[in-house]
């Protein structure tokens, strides 16, 4: 199929991009790495978009740590996140996540901001953001906003971003001494979206568990988290299976996904304890 775009403009700066979006009569669409958007356009799932290409705005790219906060620019490519020593040190969950995302060619182009803004319920980064307690930063005509990850992901492909806003970066607390971050997922083939995935973060303050590919958006499994804090793995396994409302599709049924969520939690906890399950 041939895509049918309404137009294309390359933004020179965030301000320029916001102007282009504002002037697009609601048809504006941010183009970052294009690894989800162009595919959708090529299947005519999205037609008539006025593309606002932000991929050349260098200020949106890069990784910085300052004062216990790690900031990752929205345009940072998956491959850059994966290769960053800073990320590996302060948020190893993201490093791990990258190795599960798609294939090399896609990781070279796809951006972290794109993955977060796209909000595919099966994507790794949104669930990582939840587990790590990250904050999304956006710019819009009304100014800048900081949105906690828990409020950011709303529905399938839907976030708290407004149509005229751009996601500029994600911040998160750097991993504390002794913090463990674990990602477990099962996909049919390497690089495929997960059938179910799970992030487990263990901090001094307690456990954080998020799941992806288990419903319309990634979720924080708060009941399971409490059970883990209480040291009750069986209760936590029961809880993850009931806290999720997974879909049935051509790859797997909801029942399989529920089972898998429990298996992944067990595996993550085993790794936490140092067993190589």
């Amino acid at each position: 199929m041939k895509a049918s775009a309404g137009g294309y403009a390359r933004a020179e700066s965030v301000g320029h991009a916001l102007d282009l979006l504002a002037g697009s009569d609601g048809q504006g669409r941010v183009l970052a790495g294009g690894q989800s958007l162009i595919a959708a356009m090529n299947m005519r799932l999205s037609v008539g978009d006025l593309l606002v290409d932000i991929s050349k705005i260098s200020e949106l790219s890069g990784v910085i740590v300052s004062g216990g906060t790690l900031r990752i620019g929205a345009l940072t490519r998956h491959a850059q996140v994966g290769a960053s020593q800073v990320v590996r040190t302060h948020a190893p969950l993201l490093t791990d996540a990258v190795s599960h995302i798609a294939h090399a060619a896609i990781r070279n182009r796809g951006t972290m901001g794109g993955a977060l803004a796209h909000a595919d319920p099966a994507a790794e980064f949104p669930a990582c953001a939840l587990a790590l307690g990250a904050t999304m930063h956006s710019e819009g005509p009304e100014g800048a906003r900081a949105i906690p990850a828990e409020d950011f992901f709303e529905e399938v492909f839907t976030t708290a971003l407004k149509e005229d806003e751009i996601l500029t970066s994600m911040t998160l607390p750097v991993a504390e001494e002794g913090e463990v971050q674990i990602l477990e997922e099962v996909a049919r083939r390497s690089g495929d979206y997960a059938l179910v995935g799970l992030c487990l973060v263990k901090r001094a303050s307690g456990h954080r568990v998020s799941l992806f590919s288990v419903g319309p958006k990634p979720i924080l499994a708060t009941v399971a988290m409490a059970a883990l804090d209480a040291g009750d793995l069986e209760a936590a396994v029961d809880a993850v299976s009931s806290e999720i409302d997974p879909p049935s599709d051509t790859q797997a049924s909801a029942a399989y996904r529920r089972h898998l969520a429990g298996v992944l939690l067990r595996r993550a906890v085993a790794r936490l304890k140092g067993d190589t399950a």
Partner: protein, 793 residues
Amino acid sequence: MTIPFSNPDRPNSYIGKTVPRPNAAKLVQGRGRYVDDIVLPRMLHVAFSRSPVAHAKIGEIDLDEAKAVKGVLRVFTGKDLTEVCTPWVAVLAHLKGLKSPPEHALAVDRACWVGEPVVAVVATTRAAAEEAASVVMVDYEDLPVVTETMTALDKDTPVIHPELGDNLAFRRLHEEGDVDAAFESAHKVVSASFRTARHTGVTLEPRSILVDWNPAEGQMTAYHATQAPHMMQTVLAKHLDIPESRVRVICGDVGGSYGIKVHVYPDEVATAAIAKVMGRPVKFIADRLESYTTDIHARDHEIEARIAVDADGKILAMDVDDWTGIGPYSVYPRTSAIEGNQVVNLCGGPYDFANYRAQTTVVFQNKTPTCQYRAVGHPIAVAITEGLVDMAAAAIGMDPVEIRRRNMYADDAYPVTSPAKMKFEGLSHHASMDKLIEMMDYDSLRADQAEARKQGKYRGIGIASFIELTNPSPFMYGIGGARISAQDGCTVRMDPDGSVVALSGVTEQGQGTEAMLSQVVAEGVGVKPSNVRVITGDTQVTPYGGGTWASRGAGIGGEAALQAARALRDSILEVAAAMLQAEASKLDIRDGQVVDADTGEERMPLEELGRIVYFRGDTLPKDLPRELVQTRHFITMEYPFAFTNGVQASYLEVDTDTGVVTLLKHWCVEDCGRVINPQLVDEQIRGGIVQGLGGALYEEIHYDEDGQLLNGSMADYLVPMAAEMPDMQVAHVETPTKESELGAKGAGEAGTAGAPAAVMNAINDALRPLGAQVTEMPFTPERILRALGKIDD
């Protein structure tokens, strides 16, 4: 003079060696020429508005909006095209009782599957044509939809084509010996139901055609990604009312076929019809969604089967009840009854037993039509047979290798006729099994499996013996009335510079046919393969032939090439003898030089002979023949098919918590007769295995109960990819066919035939201690966990 194949040091010994592929550099550098690369003056593009529903009466069609789209030149409905294009009925006389209704290039009154072309839009660009196709308004009045195979013949199931009376397309029962008595008195009877999923070929290059009608010459030229140019020539001529001689089909580079491109597709015929009406070149390139909804599907079978064995593991009887749903039409001109027919022909193939019953029931449904896809019927028959044999072995506590050894035809038993009435000229089941067991080190693998189990890991070994049907005679299609050539030809000519050109009726789909032809011709004439230019895929240029299908390129096309090359060698030597005043029988051609046969002393380069023949023919004796162009044809006569055989093994690990299967290693020993090019054969085997592994683990087309296809993209229809593929070790036993001098049989489908059964058996070997078994392909993580009883709904 025959070629001493057993001597690898003979002169010009290219047959049997890995020689570089002449077209590899071109393809790797992106210098291939696929249909979509061809741009003709005044060329237009066609896109189709396709049925969004599985079964509907076509009501009003409103084309106003479509016609108004910028760039659109013309829009055609089914009725418009009936004036220039006749419908076809895909039946063959030897498939008794097969029925199918007439099928049109565009649906006329009814649409019968999601994706059936209904309206064609022609525009200056594909984008404009698509834009317009998306605003074509068709009133679809829903008709009842039939999707299930097993209930298609029930009384309360609606009949898709009322004029045919019922939904039965074809049924064949074959019975040999006294099956019921054998089952009654057997020591052990094991039964199982099997399912193979509907899947499709997923060619890298989608279906593509560009048709140019030249009214001044009254000639149609179709640039077509096809496996069978001459068959397409006949089809286009017949249905568009053009003399056959005035249709030229040109088939350049083709990006994979796997059987997908050997059939007649309504949208492609419509493209040709439109080109004729408009008098302008028209191009159609399927996109990936069109590939999924309109390329032929295959393998959608449900089977109940049982096997009877005695206490020593001897097979006493097999009984197979096979059902398949083929969509609303049998596919033209090869028909959609062949796959089921093959299941009947091939079950039990490697084994010497007496009592056999098999029935195939082929029904209509409102899904994409199915037809022949790589290894037609084989993976199904092998899964049934090898699945049952393994289950029988387990039931009597015998090793799976041992039970096979006790039942396979002895290597010296040939010729022999199987209970399915297949004639085998010469096979090597035991030699192949011995080689396999040695190569995989079966005993240490069993030890590794036992060791792993102690650590809670479930590993399994699966074996699958198989036969493969290759080199078909006219018994496959010709006797049924199809104008599909089982014979093939090759013309070989020497040019003045001493180089050789070979024109062949078999075609190149990316599998290396041209490499095979170049080395056969090189050896036959006595030149380097790099001095042979190969031309295939042009009905106006090459000898008439069948093309690429049923693993026939090397066995049939290769033999024709060898004989033509040998004939050219003889005519060159006749001229050389006159020029050198020597006896032709004392001369030979080596490396492009005429030499003294005994001493190897160089007497004259071929270019000198070429110079004399072409430019100074006056210096040769007047009555000396100087025919430096020779053509030979080849057809098999003694056997309807040249069967090959082989055996595969899979070693894998099942994660019993997630159901995920990890392939650890795969082995294949096969016997395709003479191996012409070891690397090409090995890669055919490997590629075939990968396709078979796809069927075993990943590939499955899903429909809902309304006949909507649910996974028409590469994201949702999973094909095997490199990361999951195991290391594969391939070896050969060579039992050349005596029907030809070359002795080559086919190798294109062996990998696909055996791999799914090997994987199934390996999974079941791993799961057996847990009391679980899977027989429904693909073996998804979920199916495995369900078999283990680990999922509560």
